[in-house]
Amino acid sequence: MPVLVPLAPGLALLIAALVAAVPTPATVRRWAPVAASVAVGAVGAVLLTASGPATALAGVLRADSLSAWMLVTIGSVGVVSTWAGLDRDTGRGYAALLCAFLGAMSLAVVADNLGIVWVAIEATTIATAFLVAHYGTRGALEAAWKYVVLGSVGIAIAFLGVVLIYAASVRSGPTLSWLVLSGDHGLDHGLVRLGAALAVLGFATKAGLAPMHSWLPDAHGQAPAAVSGLMSGVLLAVALYAIVRVQAIADAVLGTGLMRIELAVLGLLSIAVAAALEWRQRDLKRMLAYSSIEHMGVMALGVAIGPTALPAVLLYMLAHGLIKASLFVLSGRLLAAEGTTSLAVMRALLGRRPAIAVPWLAALAGLIGFPPFGIFFAELAIAIAGWRAGLGWAVLVALGLLCLVFTALVRLAIPMLFGTPTAWTSVGPDDRGATPHGAPTGPLLPIGLALAACVVVPFLGGPVGAALSDAAAAVTGSR
């Protein structure tokens, strides 16, 4: 198994390098990111069935069940985003950067070194900078600038945290391995306290948690659909993964108090910000972006609750990733068909564009927490775990805010899907003066598979349940 560990980031980065260096036909460029996603997901699936953690490259890389689960999540969300979201016009640089992005995320989840985790997450910013700016409009440029500046500053704060955690380990044998650090061999408590608090705050910027979320709606709203799907679906989850690893160190050294308070506050604040801003959304993609902030908030609350909620958080990551990637891809098709993402203009889509609107409605039902989709079960499990862990107050506040988000999204979706067409609705994309990007049609199979997976996976109690509890146990190093 050790040989597989470097393969996950390695294959994706190799494909990126090949696409960038060698002139390839359009078909190859279109399918290269899909191949990279499949490679990452397949390696993750094999590692998930392995009997124990595998290490490689002198311990710098280490894949336990949690890493394997993250690889599966990255791979499957990647497949949905790239298979459904790309078309024949995929350029060389675009395809290469997407593959590099997938590789950087995979590296982040298999590195047993907080420094390398940091470097990989910063590399995701670098890989996605030009992807966000891809359309070259003023809006895209503004979004990309804010994304890179805020993302880099946030992640720099995380680096300061990592540096302080490293300094805390100097007396007992300097190391950045989270496995060794979370064993607490005489770390300096004061430095760990400040370092972990800063590292979580920094990675939270990248995870889109309020109050450091301001880059997210801009970037996710302006990026091409496939990129938005990947960023919203898995990049945020990968940043949360880094938070989970830092939390394991802080909890081992200081007890659960500090991380629990910090993450619960960040989580609740995120849900509150999303609830407040969803009410007056006018743009479809920004609406989805704020929904990501809300869901990351619930996940952060789950991480705050601790190991009992972690399996639910991991299921949540997969379900949210698949649904959100589907929604962004479908929104991209709507943009191509309608020439706008303005919610004021889009009306009666179920009747006018059923091929896009029917799956969109199904995915939205999953997103706002209807059973039998995975998000419903994950939210329920987090609420129960929170109640049992003595965080009943936080669960109650979160549920109240979730009702607000639910109402806001339903209120926005009903006129969009059912309402009566306005004079503006019948204007074609060419007449709006907007440059249409992408194609209004595309494969529906990946979206169908993603939604089906969200329904089926929670019911596979045996294998999935075991994988999830293994992954949660891996955080404390017990597996």
Binding site: V119, E122, A123, I126, W145, V149, A156, V163, A167
Partner: protein, 222 residues
């Protein structure tokens, strides 16, 4: 040896203050080059104390990247932006900070005192003169954040980011003698790429908005 250490640390703080104080963009780019050299000097002292040969590589890396390459890239970009807007356009060169210089320096002083107040108790009673300087690194980080939040021009923001980054590097060298070599190189490479990307965006901003003042980026909102 300790005198050189203190001198380099002092130079780090003074150059950080200069970047928030000076208005001229070309001026702050020169200051950031001096800061890069001061940081390299500091690493050299730390390296000389430990006697680790790997540390010489780090000294060379810091000197090359932060003292020469990054400031050179920024200076070249300023020159080409000047060419875009007509020779020697004064409007381009002057930054209009949110706070006046005196207020900024007072603010920076308050941040530095805050850094000492928060970080010093965490360090315990160590006899190591380098570890004692850790709060100074944190102060430089905070001044970098201050520069980024009060400056409007794209290049000034980038300089603020570099000050922030130098501060973090200083904290690493003071508190633990530097992060492992692999992480040091990988993070330096990341930094270089971020600066290159932001420079490309600066040119595009200039072309799209006719200006490099990032405070004018207000098209996207709810």
């Amino acid at each position: 040896m300790n005198v050189i250490l203190d001198l380099c640390a002092g130079a780090l703080l003074v150059t950080a203050l200069l970047t928030v104080w000076r208005r001229s963009q070309r001026g702050v780019v020169r200051v950031i080059a001096v800061q890069g050299v001061a940081l390299a000097g500091l690493v050299a002292v730390v390296a000389a104390r430990t006697g680790d040969a790997n540390d010489l590589l780090v000294v060379a890396l810091v000197l090359l990247l932060k003292g020469i390459v990054l400031p050179w890239l920024l200076d070249r970009r300023l020159a080409s932006l000047g060419a875009l807007s007509g020779v020697g356009a004064p409007a381009l060169d002057d930054d209009a900070p949110l706070l006046n210089p005196t207020a900024t320096v007072v603010f920076a002083a308050v941040l530095s005192i805050g850094a000492y107040a928060v970080v010093t108790p965490l360090l315990g009673d160590t006899g190591d003169p380098a570890v004692r300087l850790t709060p100074l690194g944190v102060a430089v980080v905070l001044i970098g954040l201050l520069a980024m939040s009060t400056r409007g021009r794209a290049i000034s923001q980038l300089v603020g980011f570099l000050v922030l980054d130098n501060g973090i590097a200083a904290v690493a060298f003071f508190s633990s003698g530097g992060v492992p070599l692999l992480v040091e190189f990988a993070s330096s490479f990341d930094l270089l790429l971020v600066v290159v990307i932001l420079q490309v965006f600066t040119v595009r901003l200039k072309a799209a908005f006719g200006d490099t003042d990032v405070r004018r980026l207000k098209e996207l909102h709810d």
